[in-house]
């Protein structure tokens, strides 16, 4: 007798994920149930189609970009570790996090890492720069057919102009951080996980 889904998840794995992501034991088992229910092929990994089967995600204008964030470069499958690592970015930032072991490195849900996640939504070719073209493509995803090319182009130009400080007509990660320094990233890019 034991929970069917989490009997495939060993205690050692749960401990490792706990250390890496900061999720609690019960949160990990609940998220494993969710992972398992999304995994229609029952092969221990999720494909892009598994994500697209979620209707609320399929109608999200940035759905494809979000799904992409789960898959490392060039891969089509994400296992539970990878799934949890990506979700960990959205854990709220708690005060006791600051007292954690400094040698553990920056936690996945730090303000910086949350901003990096958002940056990568725009940076389509993962070259650490948001070019005008990339910005246009993402804008097109968000607005659909409702805005003309010219209008969209001028919106993109204006955005780059405001953010670009070194004149290379692209937005680097540090420029991205500077533009959004007053935005409450901790709250807006966090999800309230229960227990």
């Amino acid at each position: 007798m034991g929970s069917r889904a989490s009997s495939l998840l060993r205690e050692e794995d749960i401990e490792e994920i706990k250390k890496e992501t900061g999720f609690s034991h019960s949160q990990i088992t609940r998220l494993y149930s969710r992972f398992h229910s999304l995994d229609k092929g029952e092969n221990g990994a999720l494909s892009r189609e598994d994500f697209q089967r979620i209707p609320e995600l399929a109608i999200n204008p940035l759905g494809d970009r979000i799904i992409n964030a789960f898959f490392p470069e060039g891969e089509d499958q994400v296992n539970f570790r990878g799934f949890m690592r990506t979700l960990a970015h959205f854990r709220p930032v708690e005060d006791n996090e600051k007292n954690k072991d400094p040698s553990a490195g920056e936690p996945l849900n730090s303000r910086n890492n949350k901003l990096l996640f958002a940056f990568r939504l725009y940076d389509l070719d993962r070259d650490d720069k948001i070019s005008r073209d990339e910005l246009l493509q993402v804008l097109r995803m968000m607005v659909g057919v409702n805005i003309s090319d010219e209008q969209l182009g001028s919106i993109a130009d204006r955005t780059i102009q405001e953010a670009d400080t070194n004149g290379d007509m692209c937005i680097s990660f540090s420029e991205f951080i500077k533009v959004l320094e007053k935005v409450d990233v901790e709250q807006k890019m966090s999800i309230r996980f229960l227990h």
């Binding site: 998220l31 209707p55 057919v145 409702n146 959004l180 935005v183």
Partner: protein
Amino acid sequence: TTQLSQGYRSFKPTELHCLRVWLSVVLGLIVLPAMFGVSLGFTDLYVKALVKTLEWATLRIQRGQKEEDAVPAHLPNGIIEKDDGSMEEEIGELRRSHPKSLAGGDFTLCDAFYFCKKGIESIVEDQVTQRFTSEELASWNLLTRTNNNFHYISVRVTIIWGLGVFIRYCILLPLRVTLAVLGLSWLVIGTTLVGLLPHSNVKTWISDLIHVTCYRICARALSARIRYHNKENHPKKGGICVANHTSPIDIVILANDGCYAMVGQIHGGLMGVIQRSMVRSCPHVWFERSEMKDRHAVAKRLKDHVADKTKQPILIFPEGTCINNTSVMMFKKGSFDIGATIYPVAIKYDPQFGDAFWNSGKYNMVSYLLRMMTSWAIVCNVWYLPPMSLQDGEDAVHFANRVKSAIARQGGLVDLFWDGGLKREKVKESYKEEQQKMYSSMIVGQD
């Protein structure tokens, strides 16, 4: 000759005697009272005993849980807590913290945060995919099939569980299967015989009797305890009865309290035999597979049926597919376009005693029925709601949504606009286009 006699098993007199006793017990104590609608009180006693046992088991489990694994006694049905703000509110808040003043709408890089957060929230927990799997229980009900988050607790609980397995599989299951077989044979034979009679009031009366008694036997076969509320709103002839759909058993639940004309596709096999014999004694609306595609033909047949005031009310499940009884999904507008009076009915199963939901992707009909017959019991409430009709200036879609909300409210179910067809199909692009349109108006202001 010795080899032959070893090959064949001869029936000893004692075995035949046992069989006779068994059948007479079943007939006398269960089938006959059921047919006359009389309850000997066995099911009520059984359910009371069950409740006590399950309460005891829950206490043991709560005591046995460690501090680390502590799941709150009333498990909130969710992994995350969501914000309920609209797109405008949320993006507006995001932009307020931006240094540049943005009057009249504009684009900012932080707009993507809204879509990102919504997207990740839907990956962790969404409103739709959870409706196509069985509901998670807050406390274990001693059935392994519902054991998702509970671990081994103690020897005593295991023993009770083992006893439960024995009772369910070795005592209840054979009894229930016998009853089901009896009930269905009675239906087929009875309706075929009645079909030979000429059309008359007597024929209708006998046909109704046969249908009701068969369903009552089937209800006993599931150890069903059904409570009907507001019987004064019972569907009348010439109307259409609509209800939320959880499983094929819904038909048995509703037909225990009245006769309905069924609507559906004609199947082959055993199902087809039952359907064909049913229609001999009283008019049901069965369609060939090809006819189902033609919406006008379907509507016409339904209209003709309700126009004839001597025919029973039609029973329709407008969701079109089985949902897990935690929510009501989109009602297809077809039955609301006919112009007949709609009698809404809400059905809510108590998941504590057995999960009635048919996950047709995971289980076929036979394994589903087996699961039903090895559950503790099926306990449910049926509410008859006051009749509703199409109002002036209202279209069928709006009417369907109105009825859906009424049913959801009464049954304590979540009212969703999502289509039950999403179980198998992709979501329509138009929903995404709606989102894009809404967002565009935030960037460029009023067009």
